[in-house]
Structures are given as C-alpha cells and as structure tokens.
C-alpha cells in the first residue's frame, strides 16, 4: 500500500517529463535530431512546402486553360515549351516530393512507433539520413529548375528525355536521391515492425495503419531500386551516350517505359496504401465500433502490394506491346480492384450500426471513400483494352489519376493530419472551420476534375497548351474549381497555424481512439511512452469512455486483479 501512494509523489518530485517539442528547443537539436517524431515533423514541413509550390503550378496550368488559345502561354514555340515545363514540374513535385514522402515519411515516421508501442524506429540515424537525402534531392530539383526547367513530362520518356535541351540529368539525379530516401524509409519501417514490437503486440494485434505501412514499405524496398537503375541509365545515356534507350545506337526506347512503370505503377500504391490505412483508423475510431474484417483489411493491403507489381504493362497498351501481353496486363489490372473493393466494403460494414461521430477526420474519410471509388471505377475503364485505346492520353486519364491521387491519397492524408494533429502538436483546431474547408474541398475537387472526365471522354488530349473552343465551358468550370481549392487550402493553412499558437490544449485522447498513441500524452514525450505500453486487442471500444470533466476519452478502470497480474 505504501508503495502505491509513494509512486505519484516521487513522480512529482522528479521534474515532469517534457514532451518531444519542449525537451530541447535549439535549432541544432532539430536538425541533428534522431527522434522519429521530429524527423516526421520536418518531413511534414518540407513536403507541405513542396505541396504549396506544386499547387501554385497547378493554378498556373488551370489559368492557362481558361481560354482555348491559352491565357498565359500563347503564340507557339517557346511559350508552349514553358507550358510543358510548368506541367512537368507540377507532376514531378507532386509525385516525387509530395505524394511519395508525405504519408509514409511524414505521418508514418511520426505515428509508426507510437502505434506500435516502440520508442523509435529501428535505425534513427538512417532515418535522419533519409530525410537529408530527401532534402538533397529537392535541392537538386530546384537547381535544375533554375538552370533550365525540365520539359519532358514527369515520366521522362525516352527518346525525348535524351534529346531535351533542359537540365534532365540534374533533375533525374535529384529524383534518384529521393528514391533512395524512400528506400531507406521503407527498410527502416519493415525492420521496426519486425523487431521492435513490444511484448503483447502480435502481428494481428497491430493497428491496420501499420499493416498498410508495412505493405507500403515492401513496395518501397522492392520497386524503388529499379527506378533507381532506370534513372541511372538515363543519366549515363545523356552523359556518355551509352545507347541503351537510343534506337539510333541499337537501343530500345520502349524498354525505358517498361523499366519506368515497373516502379511507377507500384509507386501509386506507395501513395494510396498508407492513405487506406489512415482511413481505416479514422472510420473505426469515429464509428466507435470495432473494425469489420480485420484480417481481410490487413491481407488486402499485402495483396494490393503484390499484385501491384504485375500490372505495369497497362501503361503500354498502345505502345507496341503484343496483344497477349495486353490481355494479361488488363486481367491483372482488374484483379487489383478486388482487394481495393474488399477494403471499401469493410469500411462500410464498420460504419453500419456504428455510433458515427461526424468530426473533421471522419468527413475526410467519407469523402475519400466517394472520390477513391470514382477513381477506382475510372481505373477499371482505363484497364479495359478497348476503352483504353480510345481514352489513352486524354484528360480522362488526368482526371482518373487526380481522383485516385488527390481524391484518394491527399484527402486521406488531410484526414490523417486532422486526426493526429492534436497528438502531434498538442493543440486542437477549430472544428467548424475545418468542417467548412473539408466540404469546400470536396465540392471544389469535383468541380475541377469531373469536367475533365467528360472532356477526356470527348477526346480532349492531355498536355497541350491549347484546345478546341467547344471544350471551353468544361475547362472554365475546372479552373473555377481549382481556384476554390486554393481558397480552401489557404483557409486550412490559416486555421492550422492559428491552432498551433492559439488552439486549445489537446487532451490525451480527444476522439476515443483505442490504439496505443492515444494512451500517451499529447504531444508525446521523447521516449513516446512512460514505462512499457500495455498492449490489448485493438479496436475494443468498450475499453474507453468519455470523461466530460477533462473533455477526453479515458481508459475504463481495469479490474484490480488484472492490474496486480501486470
């Protein structure tokens, strides 16, 4: 008895444990930090900056397309080349600097050890190194943009990427570094999940975000080296004229496309899988109901990762592939839709008869389901041979990609950002503003990209600086949508910054989550948990109850006998 009363007094006598933000405050303590949470925050800041730049480039593209002859770049030749540079940079920044690192490296870094119950990732120094690789890659990309922005499209297709007068080598070298940053992050996560699970955290007790991150990490480790060697070959091609992709020297430009998509198709699953993981966490938490079909969701992540390796050929349906290969790749593409649909049905079943709480993260999760489903269906349309031949290289493809990547990956990322914001910053944001922005974003997004599906089906080709006058109403609608999105994002930046400085203090568990990150303080201490975390079966909502006095969910008092055995 005496020991139990003495313990809290002793804890108070010792200095209270400071959270990870306050423990040290020098700039040096941030740039040399080995704390996964700080590295995650640094990733978040840099990738949000990249998102801002990429978004502004998108606004330039949309402004150009307000009129059929182009509002900014017109008169042909050099002006159109500038337009090419703008959409190329938009693509490169959004794919390689935003989508690939944003969810896995920023949110993943911060949350993975917390959800797992570990003190850090397995290799903290490697983690910091991969962040600086990311920064170095971004710096090279900026340098190439300043010297002579790339105009090849984000796919760098040979032979144009061999002949283009822009600074392709510098840009490709930058992306090579970004790729290795991604590989090391994935490697770190796999080892962390294998080796740093605390006592009681079995594989099937892991929160599903971790399964999604694990599947993502497998793709990062297994696919990225191939794009690494592809980009290396492109550099060697330009610098030494080795001829691998140059048909004048006996090489084959189509081989580049195979190599490129062998990575870049699985790469879209690097973007979407962790997003699905976030949505899974949000839906179960805000339905206050245990997840439906835990093992199916876990295994569908792995299935998507594995099948995702076998579908790259669907990017080459019209590029001289044999009809047999076309048919096989088309079939495999349909197959990927199955595990994706498994997830959607499980989310719906989880919500069914749940106590749904329509907080901001839940709104994002719901809009993810709608937008991702549209993206998925249009994907099946493109995966079908006969329709793809017609729709190839039209705005339909652009709209499909944005429905999956923006409506999917980015919307889910925003959901995750709002879901974990209190945990990361220790502050609450303004719920009404956040809901308003989420709704505005949903409307603006559809206004931007739905018209593009339509004009694409009408045959409007992508990547042109001009278009036929009959498409103008759709293009104007699309541009208005893009402007509304900009307003939404700037408003979001406003209320999040306000929350950072003036927001109410966040409680330990504001949403009623049952995973381990909600059992530690907001923000967490540097060591994540004080003492070893107690691991239970995840998603058991009978274990938490709302305590109105502190505005937070708390764990129900366990039976004393159970406490004794621990």
């Amino acid at each position: 008895m005496s020991t139990t009363t003495a313990t809290p007094e002793m804890a108070q006598a010792v200095a209270p444990v400071k959270n990870y933000l306050k423990q040290t405050t020098t700039i040096r303590s941030w740039i040399f930090t080995l704390d996964h949470k700080r590295i995650g925050v640094m990733y978040l800041i840099v990738s949000l900056l990249a998102f801002f730049v990429g978004g502004m480039l998108a606004e330039v593209i949309r402004t150009q397309l307000l009129t059929p002859s182009g509002l900014i770049f017109h008169g042909g030749g050099a002006a159109y080349r500038q337009y090419n540079q703008v959409f190329t940079l938009h693509g490169i920044i959004m794919v390689f600097m935003v989508l690939v690192p944003m969810t896995p490296a920023a949110l993943g870094n911060f949350m993975l050890p917390l959800l797992l119950g570990a003190k850090d990732v397995a290799f903290p120094r490697l983690n910091l190194f991969s962040f600086y690789l990311y920064v170095a890659g971004a710096v090279l990309a900026i340098l190439s943009t300043v010297l002579g922005a790339v105009d090849t499209g984000w796919t760098f297709y040979a032979p144009y990427s061999i002949d283009s007068g822009s600074y392709v080598v510098l840009m490709v070298a930058g992306i090579f570094l970004l790729g290795f940053s991604s590989i090391f992050t994935g490697l770190n996560f796999i080892v962390t999940i294998h080796k740093l699970r605390p006592r009681g955290m079995t594989w099937f007790r892991m929160p599903l975000f971790l399964w999604a991150t694990y599947a993502t990490a497998i793709i990062q480790v297994a696919a990225t080296p191939v794009v690494g060697v592809t980009l290396l070959l492109l550099i060697v091609e330009r610098v030494m004229g080795i001829g691998i992709f140059n048909s004048a020297l006996g090489g084959d430009p189509v081989l580049f496309q195979h190599f490129f998509w062998f990575y870049s198709h699985p790469a879209v699953y690097i973007m979407i899988l962790p997003a699905m993981g976030i949505v899974t966490e949000i839906i179960t938490t805000f339905s206050h109901k245990t997840i439906f079909g835990y093992k199916f969701i876990a295994m569908s992540s792995l299935a998507i990762a594995l099948i995702g390796f076998l579908v790259w050929g669907h990017h080459l349906f019209v590029n001289g592939q044999s009809a047999e290969l076309d048919a096989i790749f088309s079939f495999l593409t349909f197959l990927v839709a199955v595990p994706s649909a498994v997830k959607v049905f499980n989310w719906l079943a989880t919500m069914y008869k749940g106590a749904i709480d329509l907080k901001t993260p839940m709104l994002y999760a719901l809009s993810f389901i709608v937008l991702f489903t549209i993206g998925g269906f249009t994907g099946v349309v493109l995966g079908a041979l006969s329709t793809d031949v017609v729709l190839h290289d039209t705005y339909f493809v652009v709209a499909h990609f944005h429905y999956v990547m923006f409506g999917g990956a980015i919307i889910a990322f925003l959901g995750g950002l709002h879901y974990w914001w209190p945990k990361m910053t220790g502050r609450m944001y303004s719920e009404p503003w956040a809901k308003f922005v989420c709704a505005l974003l949903f409307v603006a997004f559809n206004l931007t990209f739905f018209p593009q599906l339509v004009v694409g089906a009408h045959g409007m080709p992508r990547r042109y600086a001009t278009y036929l006058p009959e498409y103008q109403p759709y293009m104007v609608a699309s541009t208005i949508g893009a402007y509304l999105q900009m307003i939404a994002f700037l408003t979001m930046a406003g209320y999040l910054l306000h929350s950072l400085f003036r927001g109410a203090k966040a409680p330990e568990n504001p949403w009623g989550g049952t995973t381990l990150e909600w059992t530690t303080s907001s923000p967490p201490p540097t060591e994540n948990f004080i003492g070893a975390p107690e691991v239970d079966v995840p998603y058991d909502y009978s274990l938490v109850e709302y305590d109105a006095a502190i505005g937070s969910y708390i764990r129900k008092e366990p039976m004393p006998a159970v406490e004794q055995t621990h």
Binding site: G241, I244, S247, D252, F259, S322, A323
Partner: protein, 287 residues
C-alpha cells in the same frame, strides 16, 4: 556464445553499443541484420534492371552478343573470379575472428580481403584499358581498331526474312497473327546492313571465327561497361568499408559481444561476390 560474453569487459562493450530504443543487444543485432539483408535485396534489384536489359537485348539481338563477347578476355575474367572467391573466404575468416575475438587474425584477413579487392580492380582496369585501346567502347565511341574485328564483306549475304525473325520470337508470333510487323518499330537499328549471318546454329567455335560483324555491336559493350562498372563501384565501396572496419578493429571496438559491423560488411562482400558470379558467365563465357 554465453561463455564469450562472460569474458571480462565484454558485457560493458555490449552495453556501450546498445542504442536507447532497443531492449537487448541481441534485438539490436537482429534488427541490424534484417536491415542489412533488406538493403542487399535492394542492391540485387538495382542490378536486376541491368540483368533485365541484358536479357532483353540478348533475346532481340543474339548475333551481337555472340559476336562481341569473343572480344572479352575470359582468362582475366577467370583470374578475377578466383581472386574474388578467395577474398570471400578471407572475409568470412574476418567475421569469424571478430566473433572469437582474435584481433590479429581479424586485421590480417581484412587486409587480405582488401588486397583481393584491389587486385580485382587492377585486373579490371587493365581490361578496360585494352578495350579503350581497341576502341571497343559504348555508343558513339565504338570504333574497333582490331584487324580481325572488321567485317568480311564477301561473307555478308542479304538477310532473309527468316533470318531476321529468328532473333525474336514474339515478332514471329505477331506476324503469324496478321499484325503488320516491322522490325524498325521495335528494335530499328538491330538490322543493319550486316544483318544476322547465322540462323542455322553451326558449331560455336567455327561460327565465331567466320562471323561477320553485325550492326550495333556497341550495344554489347555498353551493357558490359555498365554492368562491370556498377559492380566495380561496389567493390570500391567494399574496400572503403573495410578500411573503416580496420580502423575500428585497431581501436579495439570489436569483440565477441559486438561484431555487427564486421558481420554486415561480410554480407555485403558476399553480395558483391555473388553478382560477379553471374556477370562472369553471362558476359565472358556464354557465346
């Protein structure tokens, strides 16, 4: 192992190297090892792109590979293979002696492994110099200066369609299905004026001697320099890593309780060896 750990000082060494987020040295070692294996998997995948390019171009242009590979020096390749295998043995010895705490043996075997690496690079440099002298280079730099490398103009017959199609089966398949097949769509420059001389599989030795130079021989040398060059860079990195190990060994960093870096570099060296075991037959031996 438990005996070794109880040796005086070993427990302190183990604890000194234990990072804060691991519970036990064993957990830390296992994590490092899994991480290293994953990294090595990515190394294999990095090379796999090149192996894939090799396979594709060999399938499309077998005549180029048959013709050009005769200019590689199989003897140097064989010596290099033996050198690397021996260095693989000395590296394994290094790992073992780190585990058992025999510092002198560790230093000697690391030095021997490094010597093996340097020998390998030296022989390779000699081969590269020869190729440079003979103008057997990649892309536009290909400019053969060997007398017997010149194509025998009289022996060149105009290639028939069957000869052309012999190289690449999918094209035949497509042609049979009624697709308009043009070689220039897929591998345009593969059919130069010299064409494919041999479609009837004669004896290999006789074929090579009588073989006229096919078009695009530079493709083979491009792949040869890419694959062996990337591999040599890995050998160089291995030597640098061993220098680092050597310094740490002299500083008494390793012992039975802590030898993970030696172990991991050993694994890396194993992969460098193994990649060469594929490169040697593919480039030097198969005609």
């Amino acid at each position: 192992m438990s005996e070794a750990v109880s040796v005086f000082g070993q427990e302190e060494i183990a604890r000194k190297h234990l990072a804060h987020h691991f519970d036990t040295p064993q957990q830390q070692f296992d994590s490092g090892k899994l991480g290293m294996w994953l990294f090595l998997a990515t190394e294999f995948l990095l090379f796999s792109g090149l192996f894939c390019a090799y396979a594709v171009y060999r399938a499309i242009n077998p005549q180029i590979f048959r013709y050009a590979s005769q200019y590689l020096d199989a003897q140097s390749g064989l010596i290099n293979t033996l050198v690397l295998l021996t260095s693989g043995f000395t590296m394994a010895l290094a790992v073992r002696s780190a585990q058992t705490g025999r510092k002198a043996v560790l230093i000697v075997s690391l030095l021997l492994t490094m010597a093996g690496g340097f020998t390998f690079l030296a022989i390779h440099a000699y081969e590269y110099t020869e190729k440079y002298r003979d103008g057997l280079l990649w892309g536009t730099l290909y400019n053969p200066k060997l007398q017997d490398a010149k194509p025998d103009q009289a022996a060149i017959a105009k290639p028939t369609t069957a000869d052309l199609n012999a190289g690449w089966q999918p094209l035949n398949l497509m042609a049979k299905r009624g697709y308009a097949v043009s070689h220039s769509d897929i591998a345009p420059a593969a059919i130069g004026p010299a064409g494919v001389a041999v479609a009837h599989k004669p004896q290999v030795g006789a074929m090579v001697a009588a073989m006229p130079q096919p078009a695009n021989v530079q493709l083979f040398f491009g792949i040869y320099f890419l694959m062996t060059g990337l591999h040599s860079i890995h050998v160089l990195v291995g030597i640098i890593l061993m220098t680092w190990l050597l310094i740490r060994t002299i500083k008494n960093d390793f012992g039975p309780a802590y030898y993970a870096p030696v172990d991991f570099v050993g694994l890396y060296w194993g992969v460098v060896d193994m990649v060469w075991m594929f490169l040697f037959p593919l480039l030097y031996l198969i005609r």
